[in-house]
Symmetry: C2
Subunit: 346 residues, 2 copies
Amino acid sequence: MELRALAERVAEKFPVRERDLRRTFEALLTTDNLWEVLDLTDIPIMTFCEIWEELAHAGLVEVSDSSLKLTPKGRELAASLEITPIRDFACPRCKGRGIEIELLKEVAEKFKAIASSRPEAIRDYDQGYVLEEVTVARVALMWQKGDLAGLNLMVLGDDDLVSVAASLTGAPKRVTVIDIDERLLDFIQKVSDEEGLKIQVLKHDLRYPLPEELQGAFDTFITDPTESFKGMKAFLSRSLSCLKGPGSAGYFGFTRREASLKKWQAIQKFLLEKGAVITDIIDDFNVYANWPYMESMRAWKHLPIRVLPQKEWYKSAHYRIELLEKPGPDTEVFPLDLYDEETATV
Amino acid sequence: MELRALAERVAEKFPVRERDLRRTFEALLTTDNLWEVLDLTDIPIMTFCEIWEELAHAGLVEVSDSSLKLTPKGRELAASLEITPIRDFACPRCKGRGIEIELLKEVAEKFKAIASSRPEAIRDYDQGYVLEEVTVARVALMWQKGDLAGLNLMVLGDDDLVSVAASLTGAPKRVTVIDIDERLLDFIQKVSDEEGLKIQVLKHDLRYPLPEELQGAFDTFITDPTESFKGMKAFLSRSLSCLKGPGSAGYFGFTRREASLKKWQAIQKFLLEKGAVITDIIDDFNVYANWPYMESMRAWKHLPIRVLPQKEWYKSAHYRIELLEKPGPDTEVFPLDLYDEETATV
């Protein structure tokens, strides 16, 4: 049997390559847990569901006892293709991020205490926050790279509370956060008042360009955009527009759990066209806490089994860019519906 | 005093931004060792030399006792700009690479023993190899990503001996290495024979396209190109041409010690145009052993002080790409002189 033929059949609906099927087999040889498989394959969930259906149809995989399994026929195929389990070489100390947060222990502890009473993630704004240790690692990374100390930081959308962790270090000159969610803005404002952090908290809808006084005013941005291409463009256009110019830097998370590499390529082209250069892409840097509205995900009803995850599985790569040229004026309005099938995943 | 005015003066000769001067001050507040400063600033050496001259001319820096120092005037300026020392948050276990090689202990030990009698790096081919632990980490990374086990690996230029370390794992299906340096080819062939590694060893000059039988034949490539734009394009064109097609992956090191971000941007555009997407850029992944011909570097005579480095300082980022489309035919011949001032650094 040829993986290529199978891949071509799936590819009629979703962009999939022979490699993706191979990786799926590797993952199924490594674990029988759906969410671990989704984590390991690095394929958009909807594409994975489509792959699973084809493989099941071909008698290569099956669900048994709420577990994903290769059938004997599937195992035979894997062996004939010299497919073996995935080896995990992620550093156990930094979880593969490369960043040591032990040096920010006090900040990390204080941040954890503050975050314990944060507003829960809600679907209205496509929220889903990263683990507290990730937020602190993001801050450490910015500091190390010379993008934090003595500089103006803009956080666009902040359910991860980066503004709080960054301010707790005392390193930045000024921290500004914009968000559309008043629960979050109120929470950050309250923390800022109580801790004397002087965070500038502003309400803004990222479908619209930033107010003029925020454009060209920051050394660094950080954001965690929604995964649709239009949404991504909206978040990044606003983000780039807030930067002062050449030498300013930006950070954002981008996942392969929902976005295809085709979309990755489109985003990379967009960034380069805007005068940016990509300096870092750290895979699986961002690990997200499981969010309470899992069952209303678009992919939910397509999953091979509908069991809630017990551990974190949703991760994203962490990008860093630097501006080499001015990105040009940002005027486009994005009439964006986060749940529009067309603008959504893949 | 304005950093911008200083930056503009340097920029008449080399692309430099206010940020680069800020980073230079940060580095000089962190260490007085020339090579550590070069490591920390992430500015091409020639640009750094130019910056240093301007700063010295302005009375902001000086050399004293073979050390780089800020003058009192320089310190005052740094303080007024809220410039502080660089914070190092690199994970001490994996050195910021995110990769654990402890799991490949036996391979690593055997590889180290083999590499101890390797041919020395020579200037003729712009050689300079990475530490043994880095070569092993490169192999671990490929394995983890599903780019090694059961697959065909091509190593283009192998003073780092990746072919040997990869073969020692027993994971790949086939390992091929091409190089121009007969000393290296003989060494790898000898090791392969002694250890029964079955490495395919071929002589080839990367200024010319690959022989037809090597084109479209590999799942994964790894290379460590020279830093000139033409050299980079030559290495990467050959590398991409050896891949089977969509889903194939590639790895290469690219530095900021010699190449400007402008060149980074050009290389990224080139990769995207060729149908690739960048999936990982891991900063400072590659650490190079100091090479014996340091004093014949182009930058040597421009350095503020000419002392040899005591520790490793030359690092590069490790890129991973995946192909989404076929890169198209590779026919261009690059009449490349590695030491041509025009094609060389910046």
